[in-house]
């Protein structure tokens, strides 16, 4: 057992863990943040994507020890003061989910994508979704949702400036 400390969704946490614990299990089973999903054991599906220090990572492919001291954001940390994040809002408006299993990973991937590339076209979005699989194959509306969110977030910034 080792003690790990980090910030998760703005809150400091410190827990005892087995060395072999993967980040996704730490989040789901120890912190009970079950919004982050596990859809495969081959690092392919992306349903486990969270942000570590602001960057999207696959939490099923990291040990919890690797994020010692890091700042973690999960899907539970996106909405602020009861208000959905613009990407969450866009998924709702564009019917970007069917069963919803892939959605947390899609949304965390989309937030990271829009941060890196505010000017997104549909081709780029599809390319960037390389590591996320939607078993319901609802890609069309997922792409629309991300495109819509990117446009709105860009608009918001221009107005604010």
């Amino acid at each position: 057992m080792t003690t790990v400390s980090m910030t998760v969704n703005g809150k400091a946490v410190s827990e005892n863990v087995e060395d072999r614990t993967l980040l996704v299990y730490f989040l789901r089973e120890q912190l009970r943040l079950t919004g982050t999903h596990i859809g495969c054991d081959t690092s392919q599906c992306g349903s486990c994507v969270v942000h570590v220090n602001g960057r999207a990572v696959k939490s099923c492919t990291m040990f919890v020890g690797q994020v010692e001291g890091a700042d973690i954001t999960t899907i539970e940390g996106l909405a602020k003061d009861g208000k959905l994040h613009p990407v969450q809002e866009a998924f709702r408006e564009n019917h970007g989910l069917q069963c919803g299993f892939c959605t947390p990973g899609m949304i965390m991937t989309a937030v990271d994508m829009i941060r890196r590339k505010p000017e997104l076209d549909r081709d780029t979005i599809r390319h960037e979704l390389e590591g996320n699989i939607c078993r319901c194959t609802g890609y069309h509306n997922i792409v629309s949702a991300i495109e819509d969110a990117a446009n709105k977030m860009r608009g918001g910034k221009e107005k604010a400036a």
């Binding site: 072999r20 010692e68 390389e130």
Partner: protein, 270 residues
């Protein structure tokens, strides 16, 4: 609770010196350099190290620097940093391209150059660039030429306790990388890195055979004439190529030619 079905120890090294000391004390330990290949391998129990020493956080191994006409990249540098580096894009755009095509964005945020090269997965992309550009691998003990580094499937010239610290990539006059991805796994079924330098052309192939290798007949033909049609009469032998449910050896041999032509065409356009 963990999804890795057996227990093992994990230590995060705070410096290269500490990593070396830990490795000397526990020779059975394996280095964790990002883990984007190692962790999936451990899930399938294809690797079962009893102890991991994590070197992925070592700042001293995370850098990109230009030195003469070479780009020197630290072993713990993320693929994401390489693909976006203005220095890499200027000096060796093909290398930035290759890094940008590894895995997916989340994998590129974590995976490292040193990890990819030391692991020498037969379908990894970086070994093709190292061999194609005639790079030099620097370790805690010595420097190793690319031609001597990759020795077989998942095998390299690295000895016990030796850690890759940086790789120096000489810039080429022209270079490009083309790969054909397995439609499901997205790993390269054949990837070809072509580099034209003043000392001739090098052609390195990954994905098709058990280990990255040079296609010397293509090198000769392309040194004489750097154009895709210089490869028209070259038959790549399927002997020793990988053969599985995704493609026969003959199919892969053909892919090598197709990817080589594409890489040469891209190098000419780049």
């Amino acid at each position: 609770m963990s999804m890795i079905s057996y227990p093992f120890g994990y230590t995060r090294a705070k410096s290269l010196a500490e990593a070396q000391a830990l490795l000397a004390k526990t020779p059975e330990a394996k280095l964790l350099a990002g883990g984007q290949t190692l962790i999936p391998t451990m899930k399938m129990r294809l690797a079962q190290p009893s102890q991991l020493i994590d070197i992925s956080g070592l700042k001293e191994l995370s850098f990109i620097r230009v030195s003469g006409d070479a780009v020197v990249i630290g072993a713990a540098t993320r693929h994401f940093e390489v693909m976006n580096s203005a220095d890499v894009k200027r000096a060796i755009p093909a290398l930035a391209d290759l890094a940008g095509g590894i895995g997916d964005p989340a994998v590129r945020h974590v995976g490292t150059l040193g990890g990819s090269v030391a692991n020498n997965d037969p379908a990894a992309d970086y070994p093709a660039a190292v061999l194609g550009l005639n790079a030099t691998v620097k370790t805690t003990k010595r420097t190793i030429a690319a031609d001597d580094f990759f020795t077989g499937m998942f095998e390299t010239a690295l000895q016990d306790g030796e850690i890759v610290t940086e790789i120096s990539f000489p810039a080429a006059e022209r270079s490009a990388y083309a790969k054909f991805r397995n439609p499901a796994s997205r790993y390269a079924m054949a990837g070809v890195f072509v580099a034209k330098t003043k000392n001739g052309v090098r052609v390195a192939v990954t994905g098709a055979a058990p280990c990255v290798y040079r296609e010397t007949q293509m090198e000769k033909a392309l040194t004489a004439k750097f154009s895709p049609d210089a490869l028209a009469d070259i038959e790549v032998s399927p002997d020793g190529m990988n053969s599985d449910i995704h493609g026969s050896a003959e199919y892969r041999a053909n892919l090598v030619t197709v990817m080589a032509k594409r890489a040469v065409a891209a190098a000419l356009n780049g």
